[in-house]
């Protein structure tokens, strides 16, 4: 019985340790209409998004604040659509080990409001 509990505990611990960093797949079509998949760990993806938020937010927010203080610009929402260009290297493609780095451009929208 003890062994059974131990086995079950180990199995659970094993799966939990994996669950901490999930795989988020990046997906899309290339210029020829062929499907592409790039698996990436969620922690790595979070780091990249965080970097973008800091960079874009850091650049954009002061600009909006400065424009907004000028009475000529009376707007209440600022939408920013952006592609994040990233390069992924050899051996990470699901279907074939492509030799060259691949450009990935996920599209996001950021909404800034008053």
């Amino acid at each position: 019985m003890k062994k059974l509990i131990l086995t079950a505990t180990l199995l659970m611990a094993f799966s939990t340790s994996f669950a901490a960093d999930y795989l988020v797949n990046l997906i899309g079509l290339d210029e020829n209409g062929k499907e592409l998949n790039i698996p990436i760990k969620s922690k790595k993806w979070k780091k990249r998004m965080s970097k973008v938020f800091k960079r874009v937010g850091g650049d954009v927010l002061p600009q909006i604040r400065s424009y907004s203080s000028n009475e000529k610009f009376a707007f209440s929402q600022f939408d920013l659509g952006l592609y994040i260009t990233m390069k992924f290297g050899i051996g990470i493609f699901e279907e074939s080990p492509v030799k060259l780095a691949m450009k990935v451009e996920p599209y996001f929208k950021l909404f800034f409001k008053k």
Binding site: L4, N37, M49, F75
Partner: protein
């Protein structure tokens, strides 16, 4: 001991088999089946890990940004209020964050939990130049409203060829007006009713209309939105509504009316059936809108078209309160009737029949209803799962760190579907262009 090893092996096998299709949507969602035996396949558990990853990375990054000095609110109050990302589904059903060209299946809007006021469901949408009309406006009024927009676009140099721009705009705005008149004369009293028609136009600087496709990035120079919002409960009479329409436009208006009435019934009936199986108020998200694209065949017949984002108008159905004057959902014509699906030459995979020759495919309403119910079920399950995961993640963070965390929640989810020629409806894959969108909105108080 042998027993223990057997149990452990079984556990491992179960774990292994459950993760065999990890990250893939079950084929059930793309097929025609909706029977109860499929229930074990429709729980979306196979994409749990992926969704956890999306939630963790998004909420984590947003929270990290909030800790930055630049994110702190200033006197004039500007701050990051929302974030939108899109998901796509591959040909074999694998789900991912849309990172290259392709059609999105799901669009997720994130927002802060504490809102100053209850916002409209579409407030997070892009602030395009919008020209809005209602039943009281004539065609001349629409043209009058468009004129200053055209002049501004020409004066600012965003449109180089004014003549070409005006010519193209006039063609699409006249058709748009005819669709709008179809809506204004629709007498449907079903609980789900069409209330708005929208046309998002994308023009190039040369004044030509630009259409987006799965592989085309929308980087056009000029965007313009035309909207007709119905404000009267009572339908307008043909005599009053159609005085300034020519023969072709009258045909569009009449056919739009018939289509909207049929769709109104099908949406209401599907929702009613879904409501019997699921408690729609059980989670934070609320089923708000169904968007369907309208199109015209070569012969001028109106039907359900692809949501191409330009030239093709969308009609929005919203839920109205049930009143004593609302008829019971029963339409004798529905079970044997059909609804037009506009097909074009790019649908080369469709077997040739008399429907294709006319650019119209007749979809059986019974099958549409079945597919629509399935689409609603998918939207319901996805919205519920996503919203719960985001909420739980925030709670875990707040408990673990013992600090007051800014709370980001899923504000809106838009899922997209495609009609198959057989009449079933499935979540849209990367290459396909959707016909139908379902919106769930968070009930922020």
């Amino acid at each position: 001991m042998k027993k223990n090893i057997l149990i452990a092996t079984l556990l491992t096998l179960v774990t292994f088999s459950a993760s065999a299709k990890e990250g893939h949507l079950n084929p059930y969602w793309f097929g025609d089946s909706i029977d109860k035996s499929a229930d074990q396949n429709d729980n979306l558990n196979s994409i749990d890990s992926f969704l956890n990853g999306v939630v963790d990375s998004t909420v984590g990054a947003l929270n990290e940004f909030d800790a930055e000095p630049v994110a702190k609110a200033t006197k004039n109050g500007w701050h990051l209020a929302g974030f939108q990302t899109s998901l796509g589904v591959g040909f074999s059903g694998n789900i991912g964050i849309l990172a290259f060209g392709g059609t999105k299946i799901i669009e997720i809007d994130w927002a802060r939990k504490k809102q100053e006021k209850k916002e409209k469901e579409e407030e997070l949408e892009s602030s395009l130049p919008v020209v809005t009309i209602n039943e009281n406006h004539t065609k001349a009024d629409l043209n009058k409203a468009l004129d200053p927009v055209v002049r501004q676009l020409v004066e600012t140099g965003r449109v180089k060829d004014e003549k070409e721009f005006r010519k193209n705009l006039s063609v699409v705005s006249n058709d748009f007006y005819a669709y709008a008149k179809g809506l204004s004369t629709t007498r449907s009293n079903y609980v789900w009713r069409a209330g708005k028609i929208r046309l998002d136009l994308n023009f190039s600087a040369s004044g030509k209309i630009a259409t987006a496709g799965p592989l085309v990035k929308l980087g056009v120079d000029v965007k313009l939105r035309l909207e007709f919002a119905r404000i009267m409960a009572k339908a307008q009479s043909d005599n009053k509504a159609m005085t300034d329409l020519n023969a072709k436009e009258r045909k569009i208006a009449r056919e739009t009316r018939n289509l909207l009435d049929s769709l109104s019934y099908e949406v209401t009936k599907s929702y009613d059936e879904l409501e019997k199986s699921y408690n729609m108020d059980v989670h934070d998200m609320s089923f708000k809108i169904i968007e369907v694209a309208l199109g015209m065949s070569v012969e001028g017949s109106v039907g359900v078209a692809k949501l191409k984002g330009s030239v093709v108008p969308s009609v929005f159905f919203t839920r109205h309160k049930l009143s004593s004057s609302t008829p019971a959902v029963a339409d004798k014509a529905a079970d044997n009737g059909t609804i037009n699906l506009i097909v074009d030459n790019s649908d080369a995979g469709i077997a040739v029949d008399k429907g294709l020759k006319e650019s119209i495919f007749k979809l059986k309403r019974k099958r549409i209803r079945k597919g629509m119910k399935k689409a609603m079920k998918f939207a319901y399950k996805f919205a519920k799962k996503m919203s719960k995961k985001a909420k739980k993640r925030q709670e875990r963070m707040a408990q673990g760190r013992r600090v007051k965390m800014p709370k980001w929640i899923v504000k809106k989810i838009r899922s997209q579907y495609k009609f198959e020629v057989g009449g079933s409806i499935g979540p849209v894959k990367l290459k396909a262009i959707p016909h139908l969108s379902i919106y769930w909105v968070n009930k922020i108080k």
